[in-house]
Symmetry: C2
């Protein structure tokens, strides 16, 4: 089991069993990773301030995962410290009838980030080659063309100055079992427990196969996938934070120059 | 100068010079207010978790103020600690041509909060009886009917389960001068300095008059205005936090009952 590769090579066919969901890198314990994460979150916050002011770049962060893998958790832990005015979280649920009357990217496009903004997708257009495929909601000849549509769409965003980071939160089937049991047994989590989740769990292998295709066919230079070992929540949060921080550092944002030569301007009473 | 009333009585005509922008309540110093605010933010965070899970209520928070009064600052300080997935911040700038082709509430309505969500408006539909009135952008016979339109719109939201909190951040003209000077002289703030702000400052008295009408005519039981003394940023943040906390406590949110009787359910391997 390879423990290193978080980002598959673009030409590779991904085999998820080569990625260890228990991997925790160089961290022997949680405390150290949390300390580093908190430091990174501080830096991220400072960078976001300049990014927001500059209005030159935009950032799209996509989360996909099996139930209980921690999409909600990671969004809360990573983005909670940022200026909420610069962050837009979009959760994509079962499409409405109107949405189904359009192409599958129609409901996605309005939520892409404008310059200076971060958009966070909790599920995304990838559901249209995941749940849709596993449940045969559209014929294969329709969904199999969608990988190309997705790549073209993401290239459009990229060419317009959007940095795209896609995270697959990778948990094991055993870990999901533990988490579903915890949901079942913890009063303040029970509202999240749905019988439907058990039906989805039965389709685990079909989902893994669908994810492997996603991670292989839509892993591009301009919108790479990150396979995040997510059995340990603290490592998951650390990796996602660090990856976003690295991407924002690369933008080298700067405060915009003031619109006018303002040094000598007197403010009247 | 009355120092107490943060919420004008519904039948009152508001005179802003009766509200002291320097007022700091029982707080002699900043540290104590910040400690209390931080405690309130913790409570608010816990409440939001239940509010988000319950999906029964929604919350709309509106900020209006003169330039530099701290709309951006208060949004950052109060909402940064909440789960970003449950918060939507909408900033309303100069309307586009398409928006102007519709009634003035058309661009606002899509941003009102769904159940479980908090929407935060940085500026709002009130600009259509503020900047629009001060600059004569539409005839008086048009804008003077808008107070009733606003009240009807807000009652609609209220009747659908939305709690509405409207904050006017009240600073003095002197305080604005200091803050504009600070913007002019502080490199990382200079990008926010616009010559146009000085033109608006010249119209201070007309704006105060327009605000007094807003605060008198649209201060309803179902959508009250809060006049926040905002010369001291720490008191402004404290009051806004406390007001939101009180409103959320009143909702008495509870975690929803689990959808099924789940106690005995076995999670298969």
């Amino acid at each position: 089991m390879s423990k290193q590769a978080l980002v598959p090579k673009v030409e590779d066919k991904v085999h998820l069993d080569e990625f260890d969901p228990d991997y925790t890198g160089n961290y022997a314990d949680e405390d150290e990773a949390k300390r580093d994460r908190d430091k990174d979150l501080e830096k991220l916050r400072d960078l976001q301030e300049v990014f927001y002011a500059e209005q030159k770049h935009s950032l799209l962060v996509v989360f996909q995962a099996m139930d209980t893998a921690g999409k909600d958790g990671v969004i809360e832990h990573v983005f909670l410290g940022l200026n909420p005015q610069g962050v837009h979280v979009a959760s994509f649920k079962k499409p409405t009838e109107e949405e189904l009357g359009h192409d599958f990217l129609w409901r996605i496009h309005p939520h892409t980030p404008r310059k200076g903004m971060i958009s966070v997708f909790n599920r995304s257009h990838y559901e249209d080659v995941l749940v849709v495929r596993v449940h045969d909601l559209v014929p294969k000849k329709v969904w199999k063309k969608r990988y190309d549509h997705i790549n073209a769409f993401e290239e459009l965003l990229h060419d317009n100055g959007t940095t795209i980071l896609k995270f697959f939160l990778h948990i094991s089937k055993d870990e999901q079992k533990k988490r579903l049991e915890s949901r079942r047994d913890t009063p303040r989590k029970q509202w999240k427990f749905m019988l439907g989740d058990l039906e989805e769990r039965k389709l685990w292998d079909s989902y893994m196969e669908a994810y492997e295709d996603v991670l292989s066919k839509t892993n591009t230079d301009y919108a790479p996938w990150h396979i995040v070992p997510a059995n340990n929540k603290w490592y998951r949060d650390y990796i996602v934070t660090k990856t976003i921080l690295d991407a924002m550092e690369e933008m080298k944002c700067e405060y915009p120059k003031p619109a006018e030569n303002i040094a000598g301007i007197v403010i009247p009473d």
